[in-house]
């Protein structure tokens, strides 16, 4: 019926449909192509990488790039570091967001509006990179992993979204629990948190991806190369092709062989790709909740 009413079957309409299918297939492939390129090449031998500029499948399946990086102490250390920082950071972010959002969701909490306004101010204005850097330094956090976690411990946007979510939970549930004598903390733990599991899971994933991908914090706050996170390691191995500068810093610097670059990119990307399907289930909804005003 709809088909007839909307006259998709005109010649121009059909031609458009075909063109559209082709176009979108290409777009989908382009989105993935750079990563597939890297993935395939990470499994090729060094000889093949030099010999063939482009291939869809390696002639010889070769794991040596992975063997090399996983036997390089600075790489394995970077992976372990990043996993730990991401895990601890996500828990802290989630905890602080919930504990701050819940009281702010109470409309009659004295002082709530002042605090909310102060939070909103930070959305549009900040002291900037240098003053924040100096605070981190004065707190003695430079060259500690806390510098990667604490300065970003609460995302004001997420805080407001979670607060709005708490605020929109049916008030009756809470009231009945309070009639039964439950305190605020019990209500939060027994009623509010279980109802908020999906939104909190979504934010946990967003936080985890954010910390995992963070490059600016380690760049600013970690000078000690032995403390590097995976993203810093990746940047040194692949993006820092400024060979002359690299050699000025370290005369023995040898540019990493190609296969290693590909393998490091794959390892830096894979956790995000593993999380992605879970993220995708919720983020569209999350974006729309975010559009709702507080």
């Amino acid at each position: 019926m709809a088909r007839e009413v909307f006259r998709y079957n005109t010649r121009a309409g059909r031609a458009f449909d075909v063109a559209n299918v082709i176009f979108l297939t290409i777009v989908g492939l382009v989105a993935l192509a750079p990563f597939l390129f890297v993935l395939v090449r990470s499994f090729a031998s060094e000889a093949e990488l030099t010999a063939r500029p482009f291939f869809l499948w390696p002639d010889h399946f070769d794991l040596s790039a992975y063997t090399v990086i996983f036997t390089t102490p600075s790489f394995t250390r970077a992976v372990i570091t990043t996993v730990l920082v991401t895990a601890v950071g996500t828990v802290i972010q989630l905890l602080l967001t919930v504990t701050m959002a819940y009281p702010l969701a109470k409309r009659d909490l004295p002082g709530r509006n002042i605090i909310l306004s102060l939070v909103v101010v930070t959305l549009v204005f900040s002291g900037g990179m240098i003053p924040t850097f100096l605070i981190v330094r004065n707190l003695g956090l430079l060259n500690t992993y806390w510098a990667l976690i604490l300065p970003l411990a609460i995302n004001p946007f997420s805080l407001i979204i979670v607060k709005n979510f708490f605020q929109n939970l049916p008030a009756e549930l809470e009231e009945s629990a309070k009639v039964d004598g439950a305190s605020e903390l019990v209500v939060l733990w027994r009623i509010v948190l279980p109802l908020s599991k999906p939104i909190l899971a979504t934010f946990a994933l967003f936080y985890a991806v954010g910390i995992w991908n963070d490059f600016m914090s380690p760049l600013l706050y970690l000078n000690d190369t032995s403390m590097w996170t995976l993203q810093m390691f990746l940047q040194q191995v692949t993006a820092a092709t400024d060979l002359t500068t690299a050699q000025q810093v370290d005369p023995n610097y040898i540019p990493p062989s190609q296969g290693i670059k590909y393998a490091v990119i794959v390892i830096a990307t894979i956790p995000v790709l593993i999380f992605y399907p879970f993220l995708q289930k919720h983020f569209a909804k999350g974006m729309l909740i975010g559009a709702v005003k507080g």
Binding site: V5, F6, R7, Y8, G13, F16, N20, V21, L24, T25, G28, L29, V30, A31, L32, P34, F37, P53, M100, K106, L109, P110, N113, I115, L118, V120, V124, F125, S126, G127, G128, M129, I130, P131, T132, F133, I135, L139, I154, K178, V179, E184, L185, N213, F215, M216, L234, T238, A239, T241, D242, K261, I265, A268, T269, V272, F275, A284, M287, K293
Partner: protein, 329 residues
């Protein structure tokens, strides 16, 4: 949906067993005190977050005062010499100022002229796709780059555009008949940045437009069909006008962000050869402040950017309200 700004006592007096005797206070203050006491656990919960905002958001705002000083770490904030607006004068008289402003505005302009319309076109094309399996698959694929780290995007770019060996270097040079080193050629810095932007964020950007497209009134399409509109006419006369408010809001929002070039992206793509076109406010603050230690000067540059940013955002908010839409705040 708007929260009440005035403090009102709860409609139903909660059965608070807490009795407080503060006879010297007037009744209103006593009620406030009682409420605060009743919520004491909530304040305890609130405390860590408030401390966070105080230390990592508000202390740096106060610390930005060093923009008006000649800050020496050894002397500290209170011991350093007050120089008033000297740092700002130095910055505005520096030829770097117009170079940074130009670089920033050109990148923002390119994004507005190229990436923004592409997002809308992409959303329209996805919306016209009637093969749901393909639509959903493509959506899934084009959202992925949004979640990749800038380090990964930069690394991919470096490998694809590597001098000699990179496949895109091969392809483009063969097509153009040139021998360009895309990564160090200043003329190619901006196109590559825009390309990265498109690859990483176009898919993600379609979400908001697709949501708007989903709520277009179907009866309007039927009416248009009865009036004899073809497929392209329907898009032009029904779909586009229907999502116009969304387009305007997103446009205004982007105008408010015009000075915010992504630090990580630009930093990662900057090298000694393309510096002249690559430097923007954020990376300049880093190079001057962190690597050269000119704290006060760099803070002044950052503060200038932040203040202009606030003006732009508030202006954008005012504009979006004028367009009969809800503001963001």
């Amino acid at each position: 949906m708007s929260s009440t700004l005035t403090e009102t006592s709860p409609a139903v007096p909660a059965p608070a067993p807490v009795t407080v005797r503060v006879p010297s206070l007037p009744p209103r203050k006593r009620r406030l005190w009682a409420r605060m006491l009743r919520y004491r656990w909530l304040y305890l919960l609130l405390a860590p977050g408030v401390v966070y905002f105080a230390i990592f958001k508000y202390a740096p705002m106060y610390g930005a005062i060093i923009a008006f000083e000649d800050y020496v770490p050894f002397l500290g904030m209170s011991g350093s010499r007050w120089v008033g607006l000297a740092q700002f004068q130095r910055f505005f008289n520096d030829p770097d100022f117009f170079r940074l402003l130009g670089n920033t505005l050109i990148l923002a302009g390119l994004s507005l002229v190229i990436a923004f319309p592409l997002t809308i076109i992409m959303a329209l094309i996805l919306n016209e796709m009637r093969l749901m399996v393909l639509k959903r698959t493509v959506q899934t694929l084009i959202y992925i780059p949004h979640f990749l780290a800038w380090t990964v995007v930069a690394s991919l770019t470096y490998l694809l555009f590597a001098q000699g060996a990179g496949p895109l270097t091969h392809l483009l040079n063969a097509m153009l008949g040139t021998h360009i080193d895309f990564l160090s050629d200043p003329a190619w810095f901006r196109p590559i940045i825009v390309l990265q932007d498109i690859w990483k964020n176009t898919g993600w950007g379609t979400i908001i437009f697709l949501a708007a497209l989903a709520s277009v009134d179907q009866e309007q399409y039927e009416a248009a069909v009865i009036d004899g509109a073809g497929r392209f006419q329907r898009v032009w006369h029904v779909t586009l006008p229907a999502i116009r408010p969304t387009i305007i809001i997103m446009l205004i929002l982007q105008m408010g962000q015009i000075l915010n070039t992504g630090f990580e992206q630009i930093y990662l793509m900057t090298n000694s050869l393309n510096r002249q076109v690559a430097d923007v406010f954020d990376t300049y603050v880093y190079f001057v402040g962190i690597t050269q230690g000119a704290y006060s000067y760099a803070t002044a540059v950052g503060l200038f950017k932040a203040v202009v940013g606030v003006v732009l955002i508030l202006g954008a908010n005012w504009l979006s309200k004028r367009f009969n839409q809800d503001g963001i705040f």
